[in-house]
């Protein structure tokens, strides 16, 4: 199903971040890395949320974790021992994190060493950032070439995203060395046109006006996301859904394709469906 591609940038580091928790960072990291891998690029997705690891569950490989990112950072294991190859997409690997340690276990030198090693083997390195703007999040963004800022259309999420965009422009290696700035773009998730029409959520234009960065995509609120998470499946590898196609579009744009923006939604979710979708 996948053919290896020779072109494209090798070892591009993309951080998936947001500031606020629960907006869909890990879901997006899983979906984006799976969608890039499906296109034949070699992708590794790293969980930076030390102590609260979730990525391995969303990717459906939590039972296969033996060594983790922290073991590698601290030199207790080799990278090849910690990397888990995805069983569905053979160009996709997962680097899970530790559930028992905390963010202080991440050192800047250790992270850099791991990223340097990964750059040799992978086309894209996706860093799944923890919530917040503390050490874990700063480590996840520090070496990034590109950033996807996951935002929900509501004020607190937008404000936190703005804060994170400020950090991306000042507290990253690219900023500190005066290189070309981190390419930042916003991914709107949990978009619900009904709630926007009722004035319960912010309109897309308002969010973009506040954040002043390019829009990568709009992912609708969808029950498919929760269903996929529950079975440990990135949403793009699960049954077709509006969320899955939104992520596919976003990834096409991430890789430089020109795809028109469209706002999908699942056909009239029932009352129960909406309830579950919202509480996801």
């Amino acid at each position: 199903m996948t053919q290896l591609k020779e072109d494209g940038p090798r070892g591009r580091v993309i951080v998936i971040t947001s500031g606020k928790g629960g907006v869909g960072k890990t879901t997006s990291a899983a979906a984006i890395s799976a969608a890039i891998a499906k296109r034949g690029h070699k992708v590794v997705v790293i969980d930076f949320d030390v102590g609260l690891r979730n990525l391995d569950m969303i990717m459906g490989c939590e039972r296969r974790v033996v060594f983790d990112f922290i073991n590698v950072v601290q030199g207790d294991a080799r990278l090849s021992q910690a990397l888990i190859k995805d069983k569905r997409v053979d160009t996709l690997s997962i680097l899970p994190t530790s559930q028992t340690r905390d963010k202080d276990a991440l050192t800047s030198e250790g992270v850099e060493k791991v990223l340097d090693e990964l750059r040799k083997d992978f086309d894209y390195i996706i860093c799944d950032s923890p919530a917040g703007i503390e050490r874990g999040a700063q480590m996840a963004m520090y070496y990034a070439d590109e950033a996807v800022v996951v935002t929900n259309p509501e004020v607190s999420s937008v404000r936190d995203s703005d804060r994170v965009l400020g950090l991306l422009a000042s507290k990253t290696q690219r900023a500190e060395k005066g290189l070309e700035p981190v390419k930042s773009q916003v991914l709107l998730t949990r978009h619900d046109q009904g709630r926007i029409d009722r004035g319960e959520m912010m309109a897309v234009e308002d969010v973009l006006e506040l954040l002043a960065v390019p829009l990568l995509g709009i992912v609708p609120e969808s029950t498919a996301v929760l269903r996929a998470s529950n079975v440990g499946m990135p949403v793009v590898l699960d049954a077709p859904s509006s969320a899955a196609s939104a992520y596919e579009d976003a990834v096409a744009r991430l890789l430089g394709e020109d795809v028109p923006m469209r706002i999908g939604s699942d056909k009239r979710p029932g009352l129960l469906g909406r309830f579950f979708g919202r509480s996801a």
Partner: protein, 250 residues
């Protein structure tokens, strides 16, 4: 991006170990000007109301008592009582200005120092600068500053010696400070502080006013005290005597 406060200093200074270092320090304080010498309950009620209106600004703010209008307030017990009651409210009084000798001798007992009027304090720091400057010749400070990117929540941009121009928006939770005027070619949602060293002729201009705070030379208005009809308008802000005026452009 723009972090003008962190000026890169050269590490080539041969003098590596020194036990201390005198540095100029700019400090924004709030002056509390007494306009009556009658410290009755109405005075404290009005004070509490003012504090409730802008708690985030006055909380833990260093305060200077200004006695300019009350030279006749010379009962030591009264002054001590005032200071005690200000401390009770979390106002950190550290200085007194325009005080008479009697007033000064009273407040000194509290460790409160005499302050010369705001603008005069800039002079000694300029004088002391001449000496240490010989070793590391600093580039003369650029007077004006232009920022061509949005100022994001949590960021602070300071134009220490002149005007500040922002081409872009200033997000809520961001702070822009200038010794001179401030221009924002975008939406101002954060806090803007012009005339930070006391220049009362400084002004703030912005294309769309949705500010959390507008201040010139220490006089300020918060989003709650700015007239609501001036929201989302192009405005200029200036001082007229002791009145901070926010005026929309037609």
């Amino acid at each position: 991006m723009q972090t003008p406060s962190s000026d890169p200093r050269s590490d080539t200074d041969p003098v590596t170990v020194r036990p201390f270092h005198f540095r100029g320090l700019f400090l924004t304080a709030v002056a509390l000007r007494l306009e009556t010498s009658e410290m009755d309950e109405t005075f404290y009620e009005r004070l509490d109301a003012a504090l409730a209106q802008a708690p985030q600004i006055l909380d833990d703010a260093p305060i200077v008592l200004d006695f300019a209008l009350v030279p006749d307030m010379n009962v030591p017990g009264k002054i001590r009582d005032l200071i005690d009651r200000l401390f009770e409210r979390g106002l950190l009084v550290f200085g007194a200005q325009n005080a008479t000798d009697v007033q000064l001798s009273t407040v000194r007992g509290y460790g409160i120092i005499p302050i010369k009027v705001g603008r005069e304090t800039a002079l000694p720091s300029a004088k002391t600068k001449a000496k240490p400057a010989k070793k590391t010749p600093e580039a003369p400070p650029k007077s004006n500053m232009i920022v061509t990117a949005p100022v994001r929540s949590g960021q602070m941009v300071v134009a220490e010696h002149g005007d500040l121009t922002i081409v872009g928006s200033v997000a809520s939770g961001a702070e822009i400070v200038a010794a001179g005027n401030i221009h924002v070619y975008g939406t101002l949602r954060g806090r803007a502080i012009a005339g930070a060293h006391g220049d009362e002729s400084a002004r703030i201009f912005c294309q769309s006013q949705q500010a959390e705070l507008l201040a010139i030379a220490g006089l300020y208005k918060t989003s709650e005290t700015i007239e609501p009809e001036l929201r989302k308008r192009s405005v200029q802000v200036f001082l007229e005597g002791d009145n901070l005026c926010v005026e929309a452009f037609q």
